[in-house]
Every structure is written in structure tokens, then in C-alpha cells.
Symmetry: C3
Subunit: 134 residues, 3 copies
């Protein structure tokens, strides 16, 4: 069983899509969510306070500043702008896929865990996530 | 086949639990270990020298200092203390789950690989890890 | 179905091996690639411009400098040289395994996604990656 979930993004930050996954899973097995991009990530994170999401965005922007920052002057892959290579770096540090056991039709997420797409690019994108549950 | 492994923690650092997993796995398949929290992580790391574990703890504390550090003054989600949001950041950077092929009843770990829970919070916690082997 | 892929490395950097995996996968299921080491990583990254690979290497060398850098003077596990503990730190931050859905004999990689081994050590190594497709 598999499908592609499309998630529109409008700039850097976290986009929750737990509900779309909850509605889709069934039976028993290991759910995979796999993002088909190298400039956005997937994340399981705290689902209660939106400030966790903005703090995560604030931290990773500081850890990997745009190429326009003098500290990042060594970056060469900046054809698509100052957010190009930093997006690839963040995509290397953060998950390209999530894998969650499904038991009796329910993901075994903890109480405070939600599923997010973490967009690293400034421009709007339509992101594709493959959901797979064999 | 699934069970919940409970791991008590008493402050930041790595807690090995390879033996508990070795005792549980059988047959063939892909083992999943999934932590049901957003302020602790799972890790496969060097199992021979305890200084690797203390060095990892030392590095990540410097990479993501407590919110009481002036460099982190921009953090907003600090309701549970200066280790609150930094724990979420470390949980974003480090694995929420591990997935290890099991062949003829044995995990295919390398000679120097052990399985750890990486606690990011100061207060004692009882952490839950779902073990799943379909 | 499983096999071990051996990848020789000659210093830090990314080593692509997508083609070896493409040739091996078949049928339907979840492909696992698992590296049996704690001083090298696996990565899915941009496959078109080699500067992405050298920029990734440049970034992570700055984020985790060698133990000879005064900023890293607190590291204790340096028996094998200044690149010893930094390699373990990078191996903690970057994936120990990749998991990619295979549908009708093809991995569901995006257009720009390739599969890499990321070597963190200076000395030449022969790295072992377990490929598993149940």
C-alpha cells in the first residue's frame, strides 16, 4: 500500500500533516514516509506549542546561515540563491524519512509527537512525500 | 512482534541498552526501535570506550547550549526550564528511531556498534521505546 | 534478500554508490542500507552538482573541527588522531541507515536524489554497508 502526499509550502518552517497520515494508515506494519527532495526534511516533533516550531526554525537558521552571511563565504553551490546550499546542508542533518510502527491501525506515536515537513527554501514549493505501508 | 522497553534516566547522557534488544530479537526482518518522546533520542555509537559517550554529551551541549546562555536568548519555549527547548532541538538533530536488519536471530551491528538512549533533559525520566519486529 | 556492499574510501568526503543499489533491488518492499561503522555515515543528497558534495564536506568539517582545533580541546577520545572523536560526532548527527520504499523493482528516489557514503576519517578504509530487502 502506498500513495504520494503532496504538501504545498510557502517559505521556511514546519508544516504539520499528522492528520493526513492518521487517516491513511491501517492494519499492522512499519509505516514509511519518504521525502523525494534534498532541500526539505521530515520531522517528528512536539505537537502542542507552536513556539517549538518557530524556535526550531530559528535555531537551524543560525546553525546554517544563508550563503550571504560572511561566515558562509566558502559555499560554492549557490546558483539558486543564498538559501540553496544551506537547504541541502539542513536536509543532510535532518531526516529524509520517518518510520513508525503501526499496530492495529494506529501509529505508535507518543502523546506529544506530531509529524512535520520542514521546508528549508524561501520560494513556494509543492513537496512530495511517499507514504508506504507494506 | 512488539514490546515497550522502559529506560529510566537520571540526567543528560547516553544510556546503553544493547543487551535488552539482543535478548529480544529472533528470526529475520527489520527491527525498529522508536522513542515516544521529543526530548530524548536514540543512537548507534561506539561501544568500547566510555569517553566517546561523554565526548558526545560534551559536544552536543556546546552545539545546543541551555537557554540560560546569552547566545540562546531568542528561544521562547522554555516553560520547563533552560533545558526544555534545547532538548527538542537535539531531538530534531538526532534519531527518533533506529532500524536494524535482523538475520537468523541476530542484529547485523558492526563490531563496535552499541545501542543507546540519549537523554537531553536534566530531570529524571522514564523513557519508552517501542521495539517492533514484524 | 540481503548482501554486503563494500566501499573503499580514501579520506573524508562523499562517495556515491546509487548504481550498485539500483542494480540489486527488485520486487516490492522497504530497502534498508545499514552502515556497520561509527565513523562514517550514509546520506541521500543532490546528485547533479559535485559542488554540493564538497560544500557538505566543508560545512561539517567546520561544524565539527578536528581535535587539534583549540575549540575542541575538551575532547578526550583521540587515541587514533585528531579526526577520531570528530568522526564519531559526525556519525551521530548523520544517518547510520537509509530506508527507501521499492515499488515494482525501483527505489522511489526523487529526480535529484543519489545515495552516498560519507567518510569522516582521513585514513583509507574499506566500509561495509548491509543491503536488506525482505
Amino acid at each position: 500500500m502506498h500513495r504520494v502526499i503532496e504538501i504545498p509550502t510557502t517559505g521556511p518552517g514546519l508544516y504539520g500533516f499528522t492528520d493526513q497520515v492518521v487517516d491513511w494508515v491501517q492494519g499492522d506494519g512499519l509505516l514509511t514516509l519518504f521525502i523525494q527532495h534534498t532541500s526539505a526534511s521530515l520531522l517528528i516533533q512536539e505537537n502542542a506549542d507552536a513556539q517549538v516550531q518557530s524556535d526550531l526554525q530559528a535555531y537551524f537558521t543560525r546553525l546554517v546561515p544563508p550563503a550571504s552571511d560572511p561566515k558562509m563565504a566558502y559555499l560554492k553551490h549557490i546558483y539558486e540563491g543564498p538559501d540553496d546550499m544551506p537547504a541541502h546542508i539542513k536536509a543532510a542533518m535532518l531526516p529524509v524519512s520517518l518510520h513508525i510502527p503501526v499496530i492495529s491501525g494506529r501509529m505508535c506515536l507518543g502523546t506529544w509527537q506530531g509529524i512535520y515537513l520542514f521546508e528549508h527554501r524561501e520560494a513556494p514549493h509543492m513537496r512530495k512525500v511517499v507514504a508506504h505501508l507494506p
